[in-house]
Assembly symmetry: C2
Homo-oligomer: 142 residues x 2
DNA sequence: ATTATTGCAAATCCTTTGCAGTACC
DNA sequence: GGTACTGCAAAGGATTTGCAATAAT
């Protein structure tokens, strides 16, 4: 159930490199994100942590999340509501989302051709893709 | 330099339909967005308006922008900094966005093949696309 | 011991809202 | 004259920050 030792070590190395200490709070935020699937805002994660393991303040959670994003353990995404959502970037397979605007049902999809063309577009402008958001808001055909 | 009468009329009709009045402030916000190309936050637009035509308060600007988004005159986009950006949706051809995460520069792109595959994916699940968000967060290749 | 870390509360930033005065029909 | 509109200033909500107490090495 735990996180692979290799990943935890990677986290420890990042901390060392940044002259930061490996504290329980930082580990709790790190674990909350890496052992749960989905998109969480800061308070979701704090709730998850408080439910079983301990306590982390919002200040610390945000500070740690910034760090996780900076070192590619987490992906940050802000939709139109302006609330930052974070998701596991290490263990989750990539996928995009199709959202049924009438039922809120979420269907995942991946299309290699789209992935390939995206990369090509970025490259042709001299860029490489760091992350992307691709969401189809859809409606059932009657 | 003006906006096509047809578009202004469409705006007037929306206002009528919503029991709202066609006021100078609403028209200034509407014009600021529809006669400028680019992605603007609320204060950008207020600055544009104040520079030549008059004054609009932030409250009114936000209220009008909501309306413009609701009726498809404007597109709203929120990136990781949490600041809402608005762009002309009427006069600009459909496009997606590539965002340089180091400079915040926004580059537009369109790819017919991606558009086609998207539709196909939705259709194969029995859906049609109402709108979509496709953003590539990129980084210059050194 | 020394240096970084934490949590709190205050501060910030963008955005929304209540309200009193103003403008529109 | 009666509604709807505006701008102000205050309120809101998410995130950040200063600081004194606390924990890690």
């Amino acid at each position: 159930m735990g996180i692979k030792k290799e990943i935890v070590d990677r986290f420890k190395n990042v901390l060392k490199k940044e002259n930061l200490k490996f504290t329980n709070q930082r580990f709790l935020v790190f674990s909350a994100l890496l052992t749960n699937e989905g998109h969480f805002d800061c308070d979701d994660l704090i709730r998850i942590i408080n439910k079983k393991d301990g306590n982390v303040s919002r200040a610390t959670a945000y500070r740690t999340l910034d760090l996780l994003v900076k070192y590619d353990f987490a992906r940050k995404m802000v939709l139109d509501d302006g609330i930052a959502k974070y998701e596991n970037k290490i263990l989750s397979k990539h996928h995009d989302h199709m959202i049924d605007i009438e039922t809120d049902e979420i269907i995942e999809f991946v299309n290699d051709e789209i992935e390939r063309i995206q990369e090509e577009i970025a490259k042709s402008h001299g860029y490489k893709i760091v992350k992307h958001v691709h969401q189809l808001f859809v409606k059932k055909i009657k």
